[in-house]
């Protein structure tokens, strides 16, 4: 929660000095806060549903207690993914929703925003896609602890990776390194897409109707989340093959 507020404060200060992030990208203050709210919602979903479980999974591997999970006649990935819900992380998501609502109403006073009964379901759908992709990333990260033994760095890695999806993709679309980053986090690990698409649905930084590439990207977000789910499944299975149980 405090991180969220600090983040908000940071961008409040940044927007005192600039009108937009990225030349002609349309990410003005209100649009950007819609983006920020979207990130908070996805983050809180992940932290509520999966974070504790992934950490628990790493711990199971380290202690060898994963044996018990493997023996149960139920899909292991399913079993380790959902046992606990960490309600304490939910308020961040609510805060995100409030920030979005506020910024959206401010934005509507400023210019025309296309908003229909489909906007909210579409937004939620793509938030869902986002959660799926981030879940996949997390499962992959947690699975690596089978190979590395200890994985106290899970939270750190998580922080460093999510660091890339917290900004509009336009900021990366320049220079060699930027394009490489953009390409990696769009096509290999599609985390940029899933944060950008839901935010674009509500904020419409480039106005309505959407440009054709925005439609393409939205379609790709769906493909990307399916593909990352499959990939995480594959990594998980592969990692399990190397599992050798600890102690007895």
């Amino acid at each position: 929660m405090a991180w969220a507020v600090m983040n908000w404060g940071l961008f409040k200060i940044i927007y005192r000095h600039t009108g937009e992030i990225g030349l002609d990208s349309g990410w003005h203050e209100h649009e950007f806060f819609i983006f920020l709210g979207t990130i908070w919602i996805i983050n809180s979903l992940i932290q509520t549903l999966f974070m504790a479980n992934a950490a628990e999974f790493s711990e199971l591997i380290r202690t060898g207690n994963l044996d018990f999970a493997l023996l149960k006649p139920i899909d292991t990935q399913f079993l380790i993914s959902f046992p606990r819900i960490n309600w304490s992380q939910l308020p961040n998501g609510i805060l995100g929703a409030m920030l979005i609502a506020h910024s959206l109403s401010e934005l509507m006073n400023e210019r025309e925003i296309y908003f229909s009964i489909f906007s909210i379901p579409a937004f939620l759908f793509f938030i869902g896609c986002g959660a799926v992709v981030m879940y996949s990333v997390m499962i992959c990260l947690a699975s690596t602890s089978i190979w590395f033994g200890r994985n106290q760095n899970l939270y750190n890695f998580w922080f460093y990776i999510t660091n890339f999806y917290r900004y509009p993709m336009e900021i990366y679309q320049r220079s060699g390194v930027g394009m490489a980053l953009w390409g990696t986090f769009t096509f290999v690990v599609p985390i940029l897409v899933v944060s950008n698409i839901p935010a674009r649905i509500l904020a419409q930084p480039l106005g309505t109707p959407w440009k054709s590439w925005e439609w393409g990207l939205a379609a790709y977000a769906i493909v990307g989340s399916i593909w990352s789910l499959m990939a995480s499944r594959w990594v998980f299975k592969l990692a399990l093959k190397s599992y050798r149980s600890a102690s007895s």
């Binding site: 200060i13 009108g19 992030i21 660091n163 917290r166 336009e170 900021i171």
Partner: protein, 286 residues
């Protein structure tokens, strides 16, 4: 005298070895620490693009606008330098460690052994930090070499450089004694996590960790002026600003003196807290 020197030396050696256990992890961790800076670079690039004079956008030196006296290069250099300041001033686990020792009774060992708690912890920290710099120099050098173009002004003059290094060492001491004091409050509160949390928040916003302090607004109330009177800015902002030549002339030494003042203040405060604390300490637990 010699005896206590031997004791301290032993503590020092133990702590060094303790730290060398996970060296690979360490190097990787250090490199990873620069990843957020990478996004910062792009974020600020995008911002400077907007505020710049658009006729010369994408010239070799990057966009040419300036925010609160910071050009694009300065801004990136600032973030890189803050990582250095933080490498000196951040003390992960110090506050919690002290409070824990007080709560579970471990602090008793400092009451019966002829070693001083702050001294012992300080030696440990110095050892840890030294090892850290030893291992981290390589990744740091690599990153700074790759980013050398962001340092528009190049190397600062020798006297500024001297102040820079002095302020780094002082920031280490300041960070140490400040967190020590918070930890020692554990004698009265037992649970200091909320206090640590407030400290972390303050530190994050007011030390210049997230952005150069010049960016802070002067309205509706003057936070910009307020941070000048707080110790936090010496933990991240001050060394970086000195290096970048944002603080000049007599201000340079005045800042350094103020930092020394703060260090002394917190040394004395931690002494007082310690002596008062052990008087009311009742030593529960084993």
């Amino acid at each position: 005298m010699l005896e206590s020197a031997v004791i301290w030396w032993t503590f020092f050696k133990i702590s060094i070895n303790e730290r060398l256990i996970y060296r690979a992890d360490f190097m990787l961790g250090t490199l990873m620490r620069f990843l957020p800076t990478l996004t910062q670079i792009f974020l600020w690039w995008a911002i400077y693009d907007v505020i710049s004079n658009h006729d010369s956008v994408d010239s070799a030196a990057g966009p040419d606008g300036n925010i609160a006296g910071y050009q694009y290069g300065d801004m990136v250099a600032y973030y890189l330098l803050v990582i250095i300041s933080r490498a000196f001033s951040s003390m992960p686990g110090l506050t919690g460690g002290i409070a824990n020792q007080i709560r579970n009774g471990e602090v008793k060992k400092f009451l019966i052994q002829p070693v001083d708690m702050q001294g012992c912890l300080l030696i440990q920290r110095i050892a840890h930090k030294l090892v850290y710099y030893l291992i981290a120099t390589l990744p740091f050098a690599l990153v700074f070499f790759l980013c050398r173009d962001f340092f528009i002004e190049g190397w600062p003059p020798p006297n500024v450089l001297a102040v820079f290094f002095a302020s780094l060492i002082l920031s280490f001491l300041l960070g140490f004694y400040l967190e020590c004091c918070i930890g020692l409050v554990g004698f009265w509160f037992l649970e200091v996590t909320s206090l640590t949390f407030i400290y972390m928040l303050m530190n994050f916003l007011l030390s210049g960790h997230m952005f150069p302090l010049e960016l802070l607004p002067a309205e509706p109330f003057n936070i910009r002026q307020l941070v000048e009177y707080l110790p936090f800015k010496y933990l991240a902002y001050f060394p970086a600003a000195v290096f970048l030549g944002k603080i000049e002339g007599p201000e340079l030494y005045r800042g350094l003196l103020a930092e020394i003042g703060w260090v002394l203040f917190f040394i004395v405060l931690s002494r007082i807290l310690w002596h008062r604390g052990i008087k009311r300490y009742s030593g529960y637990g084993g």
